[in-house]
């Protein structure tokens, strides 16, 4: 039983991180129908910025929760800035271009950002301080670690905040409008450019949160971490139904658990095969993803 629990919580952690990143993918896709391949790199930049901020602040004497939160905020600000700039440079000029052009631009940006960090910092793995402190009440709990709990709680909080934002604020309404029909929203006076920018900013900030948390949990970062996390998170977003926020979270969790249990009960060698196999399987029966809305096409 304990084995199962440990795998369950391990999968939950993974799933939470995938969810945080997947939210960014799904939001951007919902608004401009673009697979933002460079999103994984935004996550990586968030992690690096957090490391730099945390180290600088630690030298200035900070520690504990305030260090984590402050470093996290700095990371969020910077990731949001990168996301914003990314959109302006690589995607905005391509809004009227054929479908695949922004995709290639995204791939190019992904390569660019990876190498940018590689050259500006280092190719080595950098050690990331464990910013999340161990909770005293979790001393005797062996199946779950403090950092896992923090990650899960943060994901839940972030998703809730995001959902509230989308449902109850003006900007949220504008985002939903643009996602539904961009031209119509524009005709009704919505500032589409601003909505798109806000989408990127929020998505990037969430990815940064994920980056900070998981790096604290694992203890290392490297310029390449965005790549794999990005592909997995994108898979999660599609699995849950791309364009749907609860779908992204659900997709993330399902993916995380699949991988965790596949490793635990079958073999670690094939965990990715299981993950992708699951994706194919689900899409065969629900082509729009688990929570995806099957939109009927007007002929």
């Amino acid at each position: 039983m304990e084995y199962f629990l440990e795998l369950f919580f391990g999968g939950l952690t993974r799933g939470s991180i995938y969810a945080l990143i997947a939210l960014g993918y799904t939001m951007v896709y919902g608004i401009i129908e673009l697979i933002n391949f460079a999103h994984g790199e935004i996550y990586m930049i968030g992690a690096f910025t957090a490391l730099i901020a945390a180290s600088a602040l630690a030298l200035a004497g900070m520690s504990g929760w305030s260090l984590l939160i402050l470093a996290g905020i700095v990371a969020m600000i910077y990731s949001a800035a990168y996301g914003f700039t990314l959109e302006k440079i690589a995607y905005k000029p391509l809004r009227t271009a054929p479908r695949l052009s922004p995709l290639i631009s995204a791939i190019g940006m992904s390569i660019f950002l990876q190498n940018y960090v590689l050259l500006a910092q280092t190719s080595d793995f950098m050690s990331f301080p464990a910013l999340i402190e161990e909770f005293p009440f979790m001393e005797d709990v062996t199946f779950m670690r403090s950092s896992e709990l923090v990650i899960f709680v943060t994901t839940v909080v972030a998703t809730t905040l995001l959902t509230v934002f989308i449902r109850f604020t003006r900007m949220g309404r504008a985002m939903r409008a643009v996602a539904q029909d961009k031209t119509m929203a524009m005709l009704l006076g919505v500032n589409v450019n601003r909505v798109i920018s806000v989408t990127f900013v929020i998505g990037s900030a969430l990815a940064a949160v994920g980056g900070v948390l998981i790096s604290s949990h694992i203890g290392q970062i490297n310029f390449y971490i965005g790549f794999i996390a990005g592909i997995k998170a994108f898979t999660a977003a599609v699995l849950g139904g791309i364009g749907s926020i609860p779908g992204a979270v659900l997709g993330g969790m399902v993916l995380g658990w699949t991988e965790s249990f596949a490793t635990g009960y079958v073999s670690s060698d094939y965990e990715d095969v299981f993950a992708f196999g699951l994706l194919v399987f689900i899409l065969i029966f629900r082509p729009a993803g688990i929570l995806g809305r099957t939109t009927s096409e007007k002929v």
Partner: protein
């Protein structure tokens, strides 16, 4: 900043001065992954080469000629490596330091073999590269997979007296090769590993495999792979209060491992070349890197440093750049390197790189056995 300047000026100089220097210089080809996800394993070699060449040129060069570095990126991919091989041959490299990954090395070796270029790798550990006899031009300053695996298994069974062993690898060339040898040696001693699995490097979380190790009841884990994943697994294990012993290879016997894993690195075993920490040359080489690049050197740095020294001094001792002469010089002379006094046997493996078992005690690797 300084490095930016150096690279920029070097590039400009290489572009301008290339043709002019061509006739007179000794060309050291340095091939490996200089970009992409495996760049952290290839760049330290390039740094080592630059430092060694810098020193040699300051002392008058080799055979009175300056040494020039031809750095080529193969991103650890076989077909790119094959092209790199072609390129280095057509640019008339004298000798080649590389490649980094066994797969890439294999792909390029037939080109170097045909062109009769002495090739020395600091990190390609695939056994066939030397044992198959197909590549008489190949040398290496690292022990092949089987030697390390044997040491690990013997130490685990004889000294640590463990009964149940889990064998984990990182699905890479190096890690999996080593793990497979470890498994074979264990089975020869009548012990079947309780686990034999590969993890995906760069994954977001490793708690599942740590769980599995815990529930397999293994007394020790033999891990084939590099320090980043090793650190993650060890940390995962210790945070779950597992007392399982962790034994690994020289991809992990790296000070970076200790620094990254911090206090969790205590008690970890890893095999590595003998004497490196005490050797004054090794200490000096590491200091040199810190001064030039402002950071600790990365993977295979000392191996590459040694290889560069052997290659260049081999040419010096041979008195010419002729293939047969250099090969012979490498096999009949002993060279002072950060890894100790080494030479090479008929198959190209290094002699004198003994391997020893180390253990992390109080934040440092300490030799505990042979």
């Amino acid at each position: 900043m300084k490095r930016f300047h150096i690279v920029f000026i070097t590039c400009v100089c290489m572009l301008c001065a290339g043709p002019a220097l061509a006739a007179d210089t000794i060309k050291l080809g340095v091939a490996g992954a200089h970009s992409g996800d495996l760049a952290s394993y290839g760049l330290p070699t390039l740094n080592a080469a630059k430092l060694v060449v810098g020193d040699m040129n300051a002392k008058g060069g080799v055979l009175g000629r300056k040494v020039e570095i031809l750095a080529e990126d193969d991103v650890c991919k076989p077909e790119v490596a094959a092209n790199v091989g072609s390129k280095l041959v057509s640019e008339k490299a004298t000798v080649v330091l590389g490649h980094i990954c066994s797969g890439a090395t294999k792909a390029a070796l037939s080109t170097y073999n045909e062109a009769r270029l002495v090739t020395m790798s600091p990190s390609a550990t695939n056994v066939d590269l030397t044992k198959s006899g197909e590549y008489p031009n190949f040398f290496r300053t690292i022990s092949p997979d089987d030697a390390q695996a044997l040491l690990e298994v013997n130490y685990a069974l004889n000294t640590l007296k463990v009964k149940k062993v889990a064998v984990i690898h990182d699905k890479g060339d190096y890690g999996k090769g080593l793990a497979e040898f470890a498994r074979d040696f264990l089975e020869k001693r009548g012990i079947k590993p309780v686990l034999f699995e590969g993890i995906t490097p760069g994954a977001v979380d490793y708690s599942a495999i740590v769980q599995k190790i815990k529930f397999s009841g293994a007394d020790a884990v033999i891990y084939g792979g590099y320090h980043p994943e090793a650190a993650k697994i060890v940390m995962g294990m210790r945070k779950k209060k597992m007392k399982t012993l962790f034994i690994s290879d020289d991809g992990v016997k790296d000070d970076t491992f200790i620094k990254v894993a911090g206090k969790y690195a205590e008690g970890v075993y890893a095999t590595g070349p003998i004497d490196t920490s005490k050797s004054p040359m090794a200490v000096a080489a590491i200091e040199q890197h810190k001064k030039a690049y402002g950071a600790e050197p990365g993977a295979f740095y000392l191996n590459a440093y040694a290889a560069a020294i052997c290659l260049l001094q081999g040419i010096e001792k041979a008195g010419s750049t002729d293939y047969a002469a250099v090969s012979k010089a490498l096999r009949t002379n002993w060279f002072d390197t950060p890894l100790g006094k080494i030479s090479f046997d008929e198959r190209g493996d290094a002699k004198g790189i003994g391997f020893a078992m180390y253990r992390v005690k109080n934040g440092k690797y300490v030799e505990v056995g042979k």
